[in-house]
């Protein structure tokens, strides 16, 4: 019980007057330049994957391709999708989702790779 | 004795015993509380009881230990099941809608009835030609699916003579429940006699080609193989009531199977 009431007794005025925003009224606007830079980075990475695919790296091909894709995804997510500005909870959500997805891969391959 | 059967049963008994103890404990406590602390017997509830860290830890840690023990017992039996003796005799099992087809190392084949020598380790290679079936011999506590496109393995030790049921345990269409068979365990001598006879009567839709004249000997013994085609080798099942009835119709997606038959 002590845990439950550990949150200090609520003083109602505090609650109601505390300013909090439900709307994202034009806080963080990003400069056009930043977006262009990100886009350039993405294009550059694309050309890197295409070139790397041309060279035969053996088993490394797959890994580099996926790594580059992951970097590109991070760029898109962080800048274009504004994860950069998002509330911590959305970041946690993304992590949970990716974490569970990763578990599915690991456990499926626990079967495939020992068959 | 048959190791696998014993291990499975022990693991079962272990798990069930613990379960029964827990179940009885929980239920008894519950019923006792409901009477002891009823409105009548205890008009004023004790509002100060809202939790106990000691108890929480206790009933997290103890169950963890219990389930680890259960896991371990289960694993023991499983290890035995997967620990296929290297010199076990081999039988190829093919599941087909809706019967079992067995092929011995000497290419002798048999449908529905699996004849085995007593006191031997037998290894099975399980395959399917259409959909998934599951080869299940309850008496030996073993089961494994027959999956089209791959080969699964299974083994058991044929301890005592007798006739045991084989059932298909993975749903495979209309006559799934009629996809039965028998394991017939004979003394070794009779088995050899049987296995070395060439089939003459075969099911029309049997899976593999008829046995060749040139047959290999059983790996576990070196008796001579004779070919005697005068007698039929189809052993009749001796269940009290013949479970194998005529299917009312074979319902398979014909359009599909034609398409896939390339």
């Amino acid at each position: 019980m002590s845990e439950q009431s550990q949150t200090a007794e609520l003083t109602a005025n505090q609650t109601y007057n505390a300013e909090h925003t439900n709307t994202n009224n034009g806080e963080h606007s990003v400069s056009y330049g930043t977006y262009f830079m990100v886009w350039l980075g993405l294009v550059a990475l694309t050309s890197v994957t295409v070139t790397v695919a041309g060279i035969h790296l053996g088993s490394l091909t797959l890994i580099t391709a996926l790594l580059i894709a992951a970097v590109k995804t991070t760029l898109v997510g962080y800048h274009f999708m504004h994860l950069k500005f998002d509330n911590i909870i959305i970041k946690i959500f993304v992590m949970v989702c990716l974490g569970i997805f990763l578990c599915l891969w690991i456990l499926t391959f626990a079967d495939l790779s020992f068959r | 004795m048959n190791q696998i059967t014993e291990l499975v049963d022990n693991s079962f008994i272990f798990t069930v015993t613990i379960s029964v103890i827990l179940l009885v404990g929980i239920t008894a406590a519950m019923i006792y509380f409901v009477f002891r602390y009823s409105e009548k017997n205890n008009p004023k509830p004790d509002q100060s009881i809202t939790g106990s860290t000691t108890l929480e830890i206790l009933w997290t840690v103890v169950p963890v230990l219990l389930v680890l023990a259960m896991f371990f017992y289960g694993y023991e039996g499983f290890r035995e099941m997967r620990n296929i003796p290297p010199n076990a005799m081999l039988v190829k099992v093919t599941g087909k809608m809706w019967f079992w087809h067995f092929e011995y190392e000497n290419k002798k084949t048999s449908d529905t009835v699996l004849v085995l020598p007593a006191g031997k380790d037998v290894r099975f290679e399980l395959q399917s030609v259409d959909v998934i079936h599951s080869f299940y011999v309850p008496a030996f506590r073993v089961k494994e699916d027959c999956v089209p496109g791959r080969t699964n393995h299974l083994w058991f030790h044929t301890s005592t003579e007798g006739v045991y049921d084989i059932e298909c345990a993975e749903y495979c269409g209309m006559n799934h429940s009629y996809m039965l068979g028998k394991v017939k365990i004979l003394p070794e001598k009779e088995f050899l006699e049987w296995v070395n006879k060439v089939d003459t009567v075969k099911k029309s839709d049997s899976v593999s080609a008829p046995p060749t004249g040139n047959v290999k000997t059983d790996s576990t013994n070196n008796s001579q193989v004779k070919t005697d085609s005068s007698k039929t080798t189809q052993v009749k099942t001796d269940s009290t009531k013949s479970p194998v009835k005529k299917p009312d119709s074979l319902k398979v997606n014909r359009k599909d199977s034609i398409k896939k038959n390339k």
Partner: protein, 215 residues
């Protein structure tokens, strides 16, 4: 899909009529959750792709060699650029540059169309060669190749569907912008459309190397 953010607002109006309540944060959260479901929808397919690639490494390589990686690369660039234009349109709207924002969205839709046209030619080329499920060319290929192309059609097809949905979504948003329903202070719907479009882009970022490059 455009419902997400609107409902809160209207609902409270109907009920109490007192004050308009808008919850952009909630609306964004819902959009992210929706993106997770999309991600896992494709996730199942990626898992299949990974598993079959593991089982049929050679077949997959052989099949990937048949692909035209130039079209793939061009389409990648198109989608990346369209992602940029969506992001820019949000930035523009935040700066009250309505015309620029609309222009950027038009550009995005055109990118989507070009992407689909490319895809159309690619698919018709492959189908023309008899590479399609049950097709004459595929019949003679190995199992690995059959599965590769099965997955190829399903995954790029599903992705194409998402491009179409994204374009419709953006179309609605443009309509609202022109009617000033979406403004510099109330642009969550645009943001959500953008999130969706970026997800479509991200999926392609993975589809591209997996189907066009790894031979």
């Amino acid at each position: 899909m455009t419902e997400h953010s609107e409902v809160m607002q209207e609902e409270t109006q109907i009920h109490s009529g007192a004050h308009v309540h808008r919850d952009d944060e909630g609306s964004k959260m819902a959009m992210w959750l929706f993106l997770f479901t999309e991600l896992l929808l494709f996730g199942g397919l990626f898992l299949l792709y990974g598993s079959y690639r593991f089982e049929y490494a050679d077949g997959f390589k052989a099949a990937a060699a048949d692909m035209n990686s130039v079209i793939g690369a061009v389409n990648t660039l198109i989608l990346l650029t369209s992602s940029l234009s969506v992001a820019l349109s949000i930035a523009a709207l935040q700066r009250k540059q309505k015309a620029l924002a609309l222009g950027m969205l038009w550009f995005t839709i055109i990118c989507g169309l070009v992407f689909l046209v490319n895809k159309y030619f690619e698919w018709s080329h492959e189908i023309g060669m008899g590479i399609y499920p049950g097709g004459p060319a595929l019949e003679n290929m190995s199992n690995g190749e059959i599965i590769y192309f099965g997955l190829y059609y399903v995954m790029t097809g599903l992705h194409g569907l998402h491009v179409i949905v994204g374009m419709i979504f953006i179309g609605f948003v443009m309509f609202f912008i022109s009617r000033d329903k979406i403004t510099a202070t109330n642009y969550q719907k645009l943001e959500n459309a953008g999130l969706y479009w970026h997800l479509v882009d991200i999926i392609w970022i993975f589809l591209f190397p997996l189907f066009y490059l790894l031979h």
